[in-house]
Symmetry: C2
Subunit: 150 residues, 2 copies
DNA sequence: ACAATTTAGTTAGCTATGCTAACTAATCTG
DNA sequence: CAGATTAGTTAGCATAGCTAACTAAATTGT
């Protein structure tokens, strides 16, 4: 039965799973947002900074793409990061483009912030059995694959 | 070995899992945000509305708690929802409290918006095997437990 | 009973983030 | 080298987050 109607059955289940995954992601981040604020750096700035720290230097447009944000938005986010001394702006051969890179202080701030944010999440994880933690690790990979399909 | 040093080993792994889960949640929502905008209702409004639709009527303070937001923030979110005719405000015995409930139109708009948002995610899910989809369902349950521990 | 306190929401004012439209400056193309 | 394209910025708008300070209602303590 399940096999015969697998497409429809899968669609309904898939939709429900998608819905719950979406909701869980929202609530997860909402909880972690509290720790985010301790850094004094806004969430969008923190996220953009992390692209530069972990993904290396790149142009403003590339950063905007990576962050799924419009250029003017990224322009302002970067302005804030520069003002805070967390990002440096360098010239390139192409006079229109800029090369953005995290400063030493930016890298430090980011890692501390990241630590704080993930800390509470990691603590919550320890309440799970070792087996469940392993399972969760595997399932995060699954989630990453789903995201790539988006 | 793993048993003997389970606390430290678990801590390191747990931290990495937490980090990846955090990152996955961010990227998941960033992708879905695009569909969110189609509804014409902001994400905070949509999220608050969904609490009223699926969780039933409640006071402004309760809604603020549910959404992990301060009362003034929720006050403005609700003002927007009222302006759009998606939420009704009723008096209660306690003259200080208000009873907020989704209007028929609010319920309709929410369900349509929710449909749109989850649609792309559900599509990405179908790329997974049936077995993996089941597994992902378990992930969400685990994730929900982790969130409750936060 | 009524003054003081507590509780629920709102208002005001700040910052950060998202957008589009319109601009400047640099590069590329025909 | 004139016109088109590309990279980024500026201006102006809306939403969403916060704290501080306010109003109004209910509760408490004497």
């Amino acid at each position: 039965m399940a096999r015969v109607k697998s497409k429809n059955a899968g669609a309904k289940e898939g939709f429900e799973t998608a819905d719950r995954l979406h909701s869980a992601a929202i609530h997860l981040l909402r909880r972690l947002r509290v720790r985010d604020r301790e850094s004094g750096v806004g969430p969008a700035q923190l996220s953009a900074l992390s692209v530069l720290v972990f993904g290396g230097p790149r142009s403003l447009g590339e950063l905007a793409d990576a962050e799924q944000v419009r250029p003017p938005t990224m322009s302002r986010i970067v302005a804030g990061l520069e003002r805070a001394g967390l990002v440096k702006r360098r010239k390139t051969e192409d006079g229109r483009r800029v090369r953005l890179e995290a400063s030493a202080r930016g890298t430090k701030i980011l890692q501390e912030g990241r630590l704080r944010r993930v800390e509470s999440l990691a603590k919550a994880l320890y309440a799970l059995s070792e087996k469940e933690q392993k399972l969760l690790g595997q399932l995060v990979e699954l989630m990453q694959r789903v995201i790539r399909n988006l």
